[in-house]
Every structure is written in structure tokens, then in C-alpha cells.
């Protein structure tokens, strides 16, 4: 597994999708990320031009296993599979392996036995999809593993930025908030660095994990210091459910230093983009005015998420079929 953002070898003969699973952006090269984004762009154009289903995954069974509550990611994956004409199985359980009696691997293998060849999984434990990938024949797509990675969320963030800006060169992206507990932040850092952006992480010192600089990012504790040089602000959700103990004194104080409001927007570049992975806490990470204002691309992100997830499902299935043919 690579630990530096840019040690992937160049692939002669053009970019090819080779990964059996999609577990995280740490494992992908810039070329592979670009393949996904290009594919997603094509899917987005198709659905805008004629709003009908594509036939590409007809006969394929996609299992959505959500061992942690999720509304939008689950809905997005489910719809993405359906737009490609796949059959879907949705399984939701908030219990852990220990409390349920059945391990999540047994659950997944049961569902695989029903014919699923693609398994989308969200789980509260980092590494759970990696464990699953070693134990099932299906392709595993990580829909968020604890505080580790959330590759499709980062891919849709990258897609949205690329769509508006064309490239990542000379682009500064600031990730704001709870970096420590954010899988979105980790996946974004890998993806953005691989594609050449400058990345700043900004949050209270208690929510910045140790040695994060070694991933090639800059660290700031004051949003006001960095807002002026930022092209894209990604406002991470304060994850009340993951906080163990007091990481900051109050919501009020958090909002005072890190909340995105009209005043901070004035200090920003004229064309600053406001992203948020959602669900947003209005009045905490950002005010309603900013969320609904002209700089916000929050709803574009949701639309793009569908295209990105269609691309991931399609590419993994194509890779799988090429393997079966050998």
C-alpha cells in the first residue's frame, strides 16, 4: 500500500482501470482517478441529454450493505445501480458484528450467495471493507469505513471542482473542521494531492490529527488567515456521534472561529466555491445564507455523486468481466 501521494508508476499505453476493488483513494493513481472522473462526465452528459436508463449493468446484482446509518450515500448508490439497469439488494443494520451474532463477513457472503457481484459497503470500523475484499469474490466498493476513507465522496468533490475549474493546477482547497474524525478529509487529501492541488486543513488543534503535514498538506487553525487565498472551501460536518469527550468548548465557539458566514465570504476570493459533504448542520458549519447562496455547489455535489457512483460501479464491473473472460 502506498503511503506517499505520488509514487504510482506511469502506465505506458494509456490509462487503464485495473483495480479489483475501490477501497480508498490512497490506493489509486492520478490516472485511475482521472479515468473515473472522465467516465462520470460521460454518464452525466448522457443523463442530461436523454433521461433514460443505461443498459450497462443489466443482469448484474449490486448489494448495498450499510452497517452504519446513511441516507444520501445509500440512496445515491441505489439509484446509480438502477440507472445502469442493475438489480439491487439493500441491507441495513446498525449493529456491530459482536452485538448481532452474525459477523458482517457472514452477512456479505450470504448476500454474495444470492448472486451479487458488486458489494457496496459502509461500516463504522476502519478497514472493514479491506477485510471483506479478502474474503469474498465480489468487487468491494467502500462507501465509508469509520474515520478512514470515503472514496466516492472525495471523487464527487473532485468532479465538482474539475467541472467548474477545469483543472487542479494552482488551485488551493481548504478542508475546514473535524479532520481527525473525517473520512471525507482523508480521501480528499489523497485525491487532491495526486491531482496537483494545494491543500490546507483548517480546524481546532484538537481535531487535527498528528503528523498530517506528512501527507503534504498545510495546517491552519484560523479560517480567517487562509480564507483569502482559498479557491474551494470544503466544510466538513461536525460529527457529534464520533466525538469522544470535549474536543472544543461549545458549538458557539466553534462557529465563531470556523463557521462560514456572509462576513467570511466577503473576505474570500470573488469566485470562491463552497462545498459541503452533508448532511449540513445549518448555523454550525455554515449559515443558511451561504448554503443557499451563489457560491454554494452543495446541490451540484449531490447530482454529481450519482454520476461518479455510476462510473465506479461500471468500471469495477468491467474489470471483473475482463477477469472472468481470462
Amino acid at each position: 500500500m502506498s503511503t506517499t501521494p505520488d509514487d504510482q508508476p506511469d502506465r505506458p499505453g494509456g490509462p487503464v482501470w485495473t483495480s479489483e476493488h475501490l477501497l480508498g483513494l490512497e490506493d489509486l493513481s492520478a490516472e485511475e482517478i482521472t479515468v473515473i472522473l472522465d467516465q462520470a462526465e460521460e454518464f452525466k452528459r448522457c443523463s442530461q441529454e436523454n433521461n433514460t436508463k443505461l443498459d450497462l449493468l443489466r443482469g448484474t446484482v449490486v448489494a448495498n450493505l450499510f452497517f452504519e446509518p446513511s441516507t444520501r450515500t445509500r440512496a445515491s448508490f441505489s439509484l446509480a445501480a438502477k440507472r445502469l439497469s442493475a438489480d439491487t439488494i439493500d441491507f441495513t443494520s446498525s449493529g456491530s458484528s459482536l452485538s448481532k451474532g452474525e459477523t458482517f463477513i457472514d452477512t456479505a457472503r450470504n448476500i454474495e450467495a444470492m448472486g451479487a457481484s458488486l458489494v457496496v459497503m459502509r461500516h463504522k470500523s476502519p478497514g472493514a471493507p479491506h477485510l471483506l475484499a479478502r474474503r469474498v469474490g465480489a468487487a468491494v466498493l467502500n462507501a465509508g469505513d469509520g474515520t478512514h476513507e470515503h472514496p466516492t465522496q472525495a471523487l464527487l468533490d473532485l468532479f465538482t471542482i474539475r467541472e467548474k475549474r477545469g483543472s487542479f493546477e494552482n488551485l488551493t482547497v481548504t478542508l475546514v473542521g473535524d479532520i481527525l474524525h473525517s473520512r471525507v478529509a482523508r480521501s480528499n487529501i489523497w485525491g487532491l494531492k495526486k491531482l496537483g492541488a494545494r491543500v490546507i486543513v483548517c480546524g481546532p488543534s484538537t481535531l487535527i490529527p498528528p503528523r498530517i503535514e506528512e501527507l503534504g498538506v498545510e495546517v491552519s487553525h484560523r479560517l480567517d488567515d487562509v480564507i483569502g487565498e482559498t479557491d474551494c472551501v470544503n466544510l466538513l460536518r461536525i460529527q457529534f456521534e464520533r466525538q469522544r469527550g470535549a474536543f472544543f468548548p461549545s458549538i458557539r465557539e466553534y462557529t465563531h472561529f470556523y463557521g462560514m458566514n456572509a462576513q467570511r465570504l466577503k473576505a474570500a476570493k470573488d469566485d470562491v466555491m463552497i462545498l459541503a459533504p452533508g448532511p449540513i448542520n445549518r448555523g454550525v458549519e455554515l449559515t443558511a445564507e451561504v448554503a443557499d447562496g451563489p457560491h454554494s455547489v452543495i446541490l451540484d455535489q449531490v447530482t454529481n455523486g450519482l454520476a461518479v457512483r455510476m462510473a465506479c460501479l461500471f468500471l469495477l464491473r468491467e474489470r471483473q468481466k475482463s477477469g472472468e473472460g481470462q
Binding site: 500500500m1 476502519p126 478512514h148 498528528p210
Partner: protein
């Protein structure tokens, strides 16, 4: 009268300072001078190392209460296969070894089913709850060689203080697992670059170091004897070094897995690398080796802990801590300390025999005439492949499967009787 002679090996005895080619004689279970008696059994040890049997300071035997993981019979079978002839066991059983009857059960069960000597460690506090002292005096009378709450730190400093005072009255040491509980709550691995990358909750080095400093101060104040179980950080080693220079009765151990693996291993999300204390980064390993070389740390122990596959094959944060270590103890030490040219065989053998004997207060760890005939014959140059499926332990939770290693236990005698002979040994 049974007479055994091990002929022509390189005899290493750290207590007597021996390192020479010689024969080792045992008569009726104890080491003896060369004898003219008829020889009952003869072992050709040419090219081999002959040394005292290894002494493990903290294995978890799990009988009674957790027999699905290990029993005294399976753990001692694993022990002798790893060259261990005496082992001390943590009181992590159900019921807890916090009373005399429980200590006596372990001793009796070891006599019935064990393949090596077993020395129980009794609990410091009732039910290992950390609230009231256990009946330490009666535990000692029942055979407890030292006191510990196992992997549960004695978190209350007042209890630890009184425990040290009380145990010293019986000449016993308290073994503590140095860790501030609130700093490691929910932790899975070392806090550092890799915990940041993996999004796993970290266990900072300071959690251990604060506790080491506390236990050193309490031992110094009370005049008690404390043993810090499996230290893993650079600052811990330095705290112990300075305390020992001041004359504080503090000892410490390390495990071989903390010497050969780093926290980078967690990138595989392999729960067999989930251990407590956690695997640390390279700079900590260097300090641990330095502490072993200069004598600050006088014990290497396997910290053997069997975990059934059903529990290890789970998400990393749901899986329990622990590695089975008895059967890989020697080759990992060879890799970490001898292949790296940090020390020679006599010093390594001291860390596995004489050091642990001192910490446990046992009259073992020497080949001296009259001593119990616990001896191991090692092929120092044999290269072999670790295969956990062949382990005698009931569990195979080891990250070392597939490792090509050097140094192999060939023949083991416990009290003069052959307890292990590798298949195909000369």
C-alpha cells in the same frame, strides 16, 4: 537413577559466565558433574547451543474460564516447543486468581497436564477491579511468585502505593501494565502518522510514559519492587534507566514483536498485529534495543495470548489484543538482536533465562550443579519457515506466518526429562 548427557555443544550459562564447548550432565532431574554411571540417554549437540531453559514472565493460560483459546496443557506444549521450560501466568482467568484456592488450582492442573513448570501470578486487587487489595499474603502462601492485575493497569495510585508496601512484606514484586486508561480508551494502535492515515484511534506513547514515571516514583517512595510489563517507548526506557541508576528496584520487559514490527504493519488491517501495548515506530524500537543492550531491560517475554480465529477475524476495533508468541520467541529475538549484530548469544540467552528468573524470584536459569535440569538445545544456524498451522498452541493468531527465520529449538529437557524433540532433530 537416570543419567542424561548432552555432548559436545556450545554450553552457555549466563549466571556462571560459561561459554565453552562441553558436555552437560543431568542425574535424577538435576544438573550434575560428569559421572561414571551408565548413561541412560545421550544427545549429540555438536554445532548446537546448550543453555538453560527459557523463562516466560507473562503468558496468558486462560484456564479456567477461557479454554476455547488455550489450556494449561496446550500452552505448556507450545512453551516447550519454543524452548520455554518455566512460565509465569497472568491471573486473567475466570474466576480471577485473586485467592489461594485459585492459585492452587493452577499449580495442581499444571502438575496434571503441563509439560513445563508453571508459576502463577496472583492478582493485586480483588477481581482485578483495582479497588481493594487481594489477599496477597495467602496468594503468596499458595504459590503466587508475584502480583499483577495483568493487562489491567492498577490505575488508582493509592492502591498501587499500598500494594507495593504490602507485597514487599512478602518479598514479592508487583507487575504493572503501564498505561493511563483514559488516554488509550478505544485505542487500536500507536498514535502517529499511521493512525492518522488509517483513521484508527491512537494510543499515544505518553499514556505509557506517564504511568512508568508514576510507578517508578511509587517504588522509590515505598521501597517496593515494581516490574513494568512490556515497555514499548523510548521515554519509558530512559525513565527506567535513570531510576535503576538511582537504585530504585524497577525492572522491565519487552516482547520480540515490538522489536521486529512497526505501526506501519497496521496498514494491512491485520488484527494479528493488534497488540497491547501497540506496535510503535522505528525510533522507539531503536531505544528498546539500546535498553536491552545496556542492561536497562533485563527480560524478553513473549506475552503469549491466544485468541480464537472467530474473535480475530473481525473488524480491527472489535478484535481483542494479542499474539501467540511462545513458539516464535527465539527466532524473532535472533532476527532483532543477533542478525542485526546488536548482541551475541550469551547476552540474548541471559535475557531469556537469568533476567526473568531474577524478576520472578526463581532459583532457575542456570546449568549449575544441583540446579533443576531445565535445558534447551538450539540449532543457531537452522533456517526455517514459520507456519502457524503447526503451532501447538490452540490458536494461531500470529502475524509471522511465512517468515523465513533463523535459530531453532531442537531438544528440550524439563527437570531432566525430555519434554520436546523437534521431528527430525539429530
Amino acid at each position: 537413577m537416570t543419567t542424561t548427557v548432552i555432548r559436545g555443544g556450545r554450553v552457555i550459562d549466563p549466571v556462571e559466565g560459561r561459554d565453552e564447548i562441553a558436555d552437560v550432565w543431568m542425574v535424577d532431574g538435576v544438573f550434575a558433574d560428569a559421572s561414571s554411571e551408565e548413561v541412560g540417554r545421550e544427545v549429540d549437540a555438536e554445532g548446537m547451543i546448550v543453555c538453560p531453559g527459557f523463562i516466560e514472565t507473562q503468558a496468558t493460560l486462560q484456564e479456567s474460564g477461557w479454554e476455547e483459546g488455550e489450556t494449561i496443557a496446550t500452552a505448556t506444549a507450545a512453551a516447550v516447543a519454543g524452548g520455554v521450560t518455566s512460565l509465569a501466568c497472568l491471573p486473567e482467568t475466570e474466576p480471577v486468581v485473586d485467592n489461594r484456592a485459585a492459585v492452587e488450582f493452577i499449580r495442581r492442573q499444571a502438575e496434571r497436564t503441563g509439560l513445563c513448570h508453571v508459576f502463577p501470578l496472583g492478582a493485586v486487587t480483588k477481581n482485578r477491579a483495582g479497588e481493594e487489595l487481594a489477599e496477597i499474603g495467602q496468594l503468596v502462601e499458595g504459590g503466587a511468585v508475584a502480583l499483577t492485575d495483568g493487562k489491567r493497569p492498577v490505575a488508582n495510585a493509592e492502591i498501587m502505593r499500598r500494594g507495593l508496601e504490602y507485597a514487599s512484606m512478602f518479598g514479592r514484586r508487583i507487575f504493572d501494565h503501564p498505561q493511563v486508561p483514559e488516554l488509550v480508551a478505544g485505542g487500536v494502535m500507536h498514535e502517529g502518522l499511521y493512525s492518522t492515515l488509517l483513521g484508527l484511534r491512537g494510543m499515544p506513547a505518553a499514556a505509557e510514559e506517564i504511568f512508568v514515571a508514576r510507578d517508578v516514583a511509587l517504588a522509590e517512595m515505598t521501597g517496593g519492587s515494581v516490574h513494568l510489563m512490556t515497555v514499548s517507548t523510548a521515554a519509558s526506557v530512559e525513565l527506567v534507566r535513570r531510576a535503576r541508576q538511582r537504585g530504585v528496584d524497577v525492572t522491565a520487559s519487552v516482547t520480540p514483536h515490538h522489536l521486529v514490527l512497526t505501526d506501519a504493519e497496521m496498514q494491512t488491517f491485520d488484527s494479528n498485529c493488534k497488540v497491547d501495548p501497540p506496535l510503535r515506530s522505528r525510533e522507539h524500537i531503536e531505544a528498546l534495543v539500546e535498553g536491552l543492550v545496556d542492561g536497562t531491560i533485563e527480560v524478553i517475554c513473549s506475552d503469549h495470548r491466544a485468541v480464537p480465529i472467530e474473535e480475530k477475524d473481525l473488524e480491527l476495533d472489535a478484535s481483542p489484543f494479542g499474539i501467540v508468541g511462545l513458539e516464535t520467541l527465539l527466532p524473532l529475538c535472533v532476527r532483532a538482536l543477533i542478525d542485526s549484530e546488536c548482541m551475541g548469544w550469551p547476552q540474548l540467552i541471559g535475557l531469556l533465562t537469568n533476567g526473568p528468573a531474577r524478576v520472578l524470584g526463581l532459583d532457575r536459569g542456570s546449568l549449575g550443579v544441583g540446579q533443576v535440569g531445565d535445558v534447551v538445545v538450539i540449532d543457531p544456524d537452522a533456517e526455517w519457515l514459520i507456519d502457524p498451522s503447526t503451532f501447538r498452541s490452540r490458536c494461531a493468531n500470529s502475524p509471522f506466518g511465512g517468515w523465513q527465520v533463523r535459530g531453532r529449538v531442537e531438544v528440550v529437557f524439563v527437570a531432566g526429562e525430555q519434554a520436546f524433540r523437534r521431528e527430525g532433530a539429530a
